[in-house]
């Protein structure tokens, strides 16, 4: 009554050892000829294209694809194929054959030779078909295992318990495995570590040598285990200081056996996508930089250590995994973008140290110039981290995981935290949303990251499809696959070998997500078509990273409070142009578009699971008119009263259900009804898709939000409105009411009543449409060695914030005498809109640097008057359009020169 997890292992028994003891002078016995063995690789199942065997529902065979050097026989399979319980690093196996005899228990059929054309569909007897990624095919050929066989064995071979005679197939070697502190010195730790013996493990090591450098001390790669070993999970993050010597990154060939109540016709799917594992954010979380450096213990509620509010992807992913694997899903699909980029910051000293100065963190993050080396930004950190998380979840839950590639999975070079190089104008591949992904304002993100936070390592794309080889050697050999559950087909199609974004003359590229250029290829289409053709037996769930329907962030989920948001899905077969994609098809694909959309329009696919756009939604299609199909976008958040989680029986538009999941690492975007102009966020999440066991009807779609992560901070959304959109303040400024010239200088006698009144000047959109209110408005500034902290009170009659009379001099000092880089505003906001008030965290303050610019009115014969405009740096520049380049960055040089906390 369970899900049980096993691992297939292909062993090559060692030759018999030398005879020990006296050599007989004469013998009459007959020496049996040694049984023939072959080197081989189990191609299917693989780590993220596993075999799921549903007891009593599936044909009574276990099906595999095996590549071998020699002609494969059932007898070889009987002796060399092993099944052991669980996924164990040392791959223990029983030397005994699977069966007393192969006959009737094992069938082997040749399916030809390995092809690296990326088009040939391989298939097992009945359960699985897929297209090998060329990198895996090439690796097989290089090892001279190019004969391919579909193999099936009787399930009775599955051991009911771990045999007592198990031997480890792996061996042990001394490896660099981590770091420790010796006093103030970081030193390397070496341990005996497990090394896999399967040929597929050797293929992985070849790839690792090529990608991460040799496994010896001459390698500059600083990652513990040199990317050959998993990280332990510590709390909800990886322990980056050490690798687990018993868990090498090696091949596994999982078999999941569902029995009893788990042996269902229809499996419920969990879907996680856009994980963007980015382990440097774990280091960034150790910063104690604060926007307003009041001093230890001073106003930390208003200006906290940025590391304490940073919501980094790794921990969010861990939380999402807990929800998805811990919930109703019977199988989990990983929808690509498993990492942000292949190279990432690693610093053992920062990881091991409990206290880090902001400057030390800046140095660790630095991507500028010569600071970016193979040692400081080694290759592979996050691939290892992702593997560690998935291995942990898969093995602890015994739930199968299927995976496909996303475009980020071969992004090589790192980028800063706010590389917003004119994104709107140049269709930049840069991502202005990263601070929001981390639940930070621009200023917070940049201050934590350091001066290189606005840079890109690569001006052009760092998309390098050759790096998909890690995914396909370690996670799955298949770029595209079709797995057949008892009554469902699950088809996964990989990203492809290129992406399309930069096209200054194009339409969709401008501000759009990258699209997959060569998906859906003819080969992918052929695989999918076969699944579609068999839909009478098994309804099809299709999963891709790229989207089919995904609304641009500025289109609301519930416009005007409606339950759904209308859009259009267009049939456009133009693979070259970008002209006719609408704002409802963000990050879609180019090739064979018409055919795919025909399939959807004709409701030949039951469910589509995608990611890529970091914004959840469930899209249902209406009836096609010409090249346009009307669509409706629904929310699937069960906590939202307007959501549509339960699909009503008999709903004519219920198939296909086109689902985009929230990003599972970064904070996803959310736009309920136009609030924050598309820059609202939610907590990361995944999706569970449930099917009715009796009918197979898709009955439920629910977002699984990482509810143990902090809510999206409202001030982050406000910051994006102000920095990246139309602005939060009229004319980009707060205004101080006019006072006389002598009051301005302080020459006038002191006033017992307030003289300074500040208009917050929020735009009508902010204060009326979104019903935002300012609960507190605080002015902070460093004067000499002390910090001014001026808390205003709201004067309803003036609709302005009054500086208490007792702090008139302080505020005058703040306006006139405080040096610019230490003049700040802290705003605590909230909303009268219950949705905005409850969905977002409004406990934190919106802190940003400002300038105070005096205005003078000196009319003849009238009192001289002075007012002040308070605005963020450089807001006096009139930039039209989206203000994507406002200088929201801290003055790093000033902090370094004037604040000991930021000193070298």
């Amino acid at each position: 009554m369970a899900r049980d997890l096993y691992n297939f292992i292909w062993v090559v028994p060692p030759p018999p050892g030398p005879t020990i003891g006296p050599v007989p002078l004469q013998t009459t016995t007959t020496v049996a000829r040694a049984a023939l063995t072959t080197r081989g690789v189990i191609v299917f199942p693989a780590f993220m294209t596993p075999l799921v065997y549903v007891d009593g529902k599936d044909p009574a065979w276990l099906e595999l694809l095996i590549a071998s050097e020699l002609v494969l026989t059932a007898d070889m399979v009987n002796r060399q194929l092993k099944i052991s319980a669980g996924l164990r690093g040392n791959k223990p196996y029983s030397p005994a054959p699977l069966f007393a005899g192969a006959g009737g228990n094992i069938e082997v059929v040749s399916v030809g030779n390995v092809s690296d054309d990326g088009e040939t569909i391989l298939e097992t007897h009945s359960k699985f078909a897929g297209i090998l990624h060329p990198s895996f095919a090439t690796a097989l050929t290089n090892k001279r295992v190019s004969k391919l066989y579909k193999v099936r064995i009787k399930p009775s071979a599955i051991p009911t318990s771990s045999p007592a005679d198990e031997l480890p197939y792996s061996y042990q070697e001394s490896k660099f495995i981590g770091y420790r502190m010796n006093g103030t010195t970081v030193e390397r730790v070496t341990r005996l570590a497990t090394v896999g013996s399967e040929l597929s493990d050797v293929m992985i090591r070849d790839m690792q040598n090529r990608r991460f450098g040799p496994d010896n001390s001459g390698n500059l790669n600083t990652i513990p285990g040199r990317c050959r070993y998993s990280f332990p999970i510590s709390g909800n993050a990886i322990d980056m200081a050490r690798a687990d010597p018993q868990l090498p990154i090696q091949s596994y060939h999982p078999l999941f056996v569902h029995t009893g109540a788990q042996a269902t016709n229809y499996l419920d799917f969990g879907h996680v996508s856009d994980i963007h594992v980015n382990s440097r954010w774990q280091i960034l979380g150790k910063t104690n930089a604060r926007v307003i450096e009041y001093g230890d213990g001073q106003f930390e509620d208003e200006s906290p250590k940025i590391g304490s509010v940073l919501a980094e992807n790794n921990r969010s992913f861990h939380a999402v995994l807990a929800r998805v694997f811990g919930g109703d899903a019977d199988a989990v699909i990983v929808g690509g973008d498993i990492v942000d980029h292949i190279r990432n910051a690693y610093s053992a000293a920062r990881i091991l140290s409990s206290t880090n100065t902001p400057r030390q963190i800046w140095a660790a993050m630095n991507i500028e110039g010569d600071a970016y080396t193979d040692a400081t930004y080694p290759f592979g950190l996050d691939l290892v981290a992702f593997y560690s998380y998935i291995f942990d979840s898969m093995t602890s839950s015994s739930k199968p995981v299927f995976g496909i590639t996303g475009n980020h999975d071969c992004y090589v070079d790192a980028f800063g935290i706010s590389p917003r190089l004119n994104a709107e104008l140049m269709a930049s591949r840069t991502n202005e949303g990263i601070p929001a992904d981390l639940n930070l304002t621009f200023y917070e993100a940049l201050l934590a990251f350091g001066p290189s936070g606005g840079l890109l390592r690569s001006a052009s794309s760092s998309f390098n499809a050759e790096w998909f080889d890690w995914f396909h050697l370690v996670l799955s050999p298949f770029n595209d696959w079709w797995f057949k559950f008892p009554k469902q087909s699950l088809v996964g199609l990989g990203w492809g070998t290129s992406e399309d974004l930069i096209d200054p003359r194009g339409g969709q590229s401008g501000g759009h997500l990258p699209r997959s250029d060569d998906a859906i290829s003819n080969a992918q289409l052929a695989l999918l078509q076969r699944a579609v053709d068999a839909r009478a037996t098994r309804k099809v769930t299709l999963t891709t990273h790229f989207t089919f329907l995904s609304y641009i962030e500025t289109v609301a989920m519930h416009p005007g409070g409606a339950r759904s948001s209308p859009g259009t899905f267009r049939l456009n077969d133009n693979t070259l142009g970008t002209e006719n994609y609408s704002h409802f098809e963000m990050g879609t694909f180019e090739t064979n578009r018409a055919t795919l959309i025909e399939m959807l329009a004709n409701r030949q696919i039951q469910c589509v699971l995608t990611g890529h756009s970091h914004r959840r939604g469930m899209h249902l299609l209406g009836t096609r008119t010409g090249d346009t199909i009307p669509a409706q976008l629904f929310d699937t958040d069960p906590t939202d009263s307007l959501s549509l989680c339960t699909i009503p029986a008999g709903l004519t538009t219920a198939e296909p259900v086109i689902i985009v999941s929230d990003s599972a690492g970064p904070y996803p975007r959310h736009n309920r009804d136009g609030e924050f102009l598309g820059w609202g966020s939610d907590r990361p999440g995944g999706t569970v898709i449930k099917f009715e066991e009796s009918s197979g009807r898709l009955s439920e779609v629910r977002t699984l939000t990482a509810t143990n992560r902090q809510k999206a901070r409202g001030v982050v959304a406000m910051d994006y409105v102000d920095v990246s959109s139309t602005g939060a303040f009229n004319n980009n400024r707060l205004e101080v009411a006019w006072i006389t010239g002598e009051q301005d200088t302080g020459a006038a006698p002191p006033s017992p009543t307030p003289i300074y009144f500040i208009s917050a000047n929020l735009t009508a959109q902010v204060h009326t449409t979104w019903q935002m209110i300012i609960e507190k408005l605080v002015f902070a500034g460093r004067f000499g060695t002390t910090w001014l902290h001026i808390e205003t009170t709201y004067d309803a009659a003036r609709n302005a914030f009054a500086v208490p009379a007792a702090q008139t001099n302080d505020f005058r000092t703040w306006l006139r005498l405080v040096l610019q880089p230490t003049r700040y505003i802290s705003i605590k906001m909230n909303s009268r809109s219950s949705f905005i008030a409850n969905r977002y965290d409004w406990s934190s303050y919106w802190n940003f640097e400002v300038m105070a610019q005096a205005l003078f009115q000196y009319p003849a014969g009238a009192p001289r008057q002075v007012s002040y405009r308070i605005f963020r740096p450089q807001r006096e520049i009139a930039i039209t359009g989206r203000d994507v380049q406002w200088r929201e960055a801290p003055n790093f040089d000033w902090r370094m020169a004037n604040d000991p906390k930021y000193a070298p």
């Binding site: 110039g369 140049m426 930049s428 052009s460 200054p504 003078f856 001289r864 807001r875 380049q885």
Partner: protein, 366 residues
């Protein structure tokens, strides 16, 4: 319509420029081409190359050398030029958008009617270059050397410079809005005929800094060290703040409208105001040397708070509205030929004077 590079052109541009039958380099022209998403790392040297209407987009180009080349109506969008050398190159009506220069060297280059939008230069040299009628929207210079460079009739929005240096730097004509200089070192800065609207200068060192002949609004200096700081012939000087700075000589000359002047927490060896009309000026905690002078012009509302004035000579100055003094020490205050308005409000509190010094109360009598 720009077309993609032909294979031969690609080789010429990125690896091996064309040669004649004698294997000598020849001048050549590349026109009407669009180059997207490429990364070139081969070292290549170009001489007498003309690029016309070439669009570089998302291009990363390392180690290229241009000598005596002409770039006309060339666009660089979201591109990076690293370790590139430009010598005696003329850029005509070129446009740079979202582009980065990293460790590049521009020598004796001329930029004519070019546009910089969000251009970042890091550790680069822009020496003896002329920017003629340049238009910028955010031009960020970090650790750059601008020696001998001149901006002529440039419209500079969002000029930022940090840790940058120059022997001489000149801005003449045009306009400057929203500028920031941090930790810069410039021996001689001349800004002539350039209206300024917002310029903040922090932690910087200047030998001589002169601003002349245009309106100035919102100019602040903080933590600066300057030998000679002069503002001359400004029709309006509004909101000049000098904070926490050390300046040998501050000279404000022939400025008929100086509103809201504030000098605070600073050491000024010599303050010279000549024919300047100040409104609501304030000097807070200023330590001034013995040769400060206010000659001619007017003081309509002036405040002294704290500080010491070793010598302050006022001659031919109109005093009006108020003089407020709090806890300020004047060692040698002298008045001559003063024109004092009636009523003048003297708000004196703990004012102190040295032997032989006049007092502010004496101003009316002179």
């Amino acid at each position: 319509m720009a077309e993609r590079l032909a294979a031969e052109e690609l080789v010429w541009l990125t690896r091996d420029p064309p040669r004649d039958e004698h294997d000598q380099r020849v001048a050549w022209t590349l026109a009407d081409r669009a180059i997207d998403e490429v990364r070139w790392t081969d070292l290549v040297e170009h001489e007498h190359l003309t690029l016309e209407r070439v669009e570089f987009s998302a291009t990363q180009w390392n180690g290229v050398v241009f000598r005596r080349c002409l770039l006309r109506e060339v666009q660089f969008a979201r591109s990076t030029l690293a370790h590139a050398v430009f010598e005696d190159v003329v850029f005509e009506r070129c446009r740079f958008q979202g582009t980065t220069f990293e460790a590049c060297q521009f020598s004796r280059c001329r930029f004519e009617r070019c546009e910089f939008e969000f251009l970042t230069a890091i550790r680069s040299g822009l020496r003896e270059c002329v920017f003629d009628q340049l238009t910028t929207t955010v031009f960020d210079l970090r650790e750059c050397d601008l020696s001998g460079t001149r901006f002529v009739e440039a419209s500079l929005d969002g000029l930022r410079a940090s840790k940058s240096t120059a022997d001489t730097l000149e801005l003449r004509g045009g306009r400057l809005q929203g500028g920031d200089l941090t930790a810069c070192q410039i021996r001689s800065l001349q800004i002539v005929g350039v209206p300024i609207d917002g310029l903040r200068i922090l932690d910087s060192h200047f030998g001589q800094a002169t601003l002349a002949g245009a309106r100035i609004n919102d100019l602040s200096l903080g933590g600066c060290e300057i030998d000679e700081f002069a503002i001359v012939d400004c029709p309006e000087l509004l909101g000049l703040h000098v904070l926490q700075s050390t300046i040998a000589e501050v000279r404000i000359d022939t400025c008929p409208m100086v509103a809201g002047l504030l000098i605070a927490d600073s050491r000024i060896t010599e303050l010279n105001l000549h024919d300047a009309r100040l409104y609501d000026a304030a000097f807070e905690r200023v330590d001034a040397g013995p040769r400060s002078r206010i000659h001619g012009g007017a003081l309509t509302g002036i405040l002294f708070v704290g500080g010491t004035w070793a010598g302050l000579d006022l001659r031919g100055v109109q005093l009006a509205d108020y003089v407020a003094v709090r806890q300020t020490h004047f060692s040698g205050l002298q008045f001559a030929a003063m024109q004092v308005g009636d009523p003048l409000d003297l708000r004196l509190d703990s004012d102190q004077y040295g032997d032989g010094s006049m007092t502010w109360s004496d101003a009316r009598g002179t």
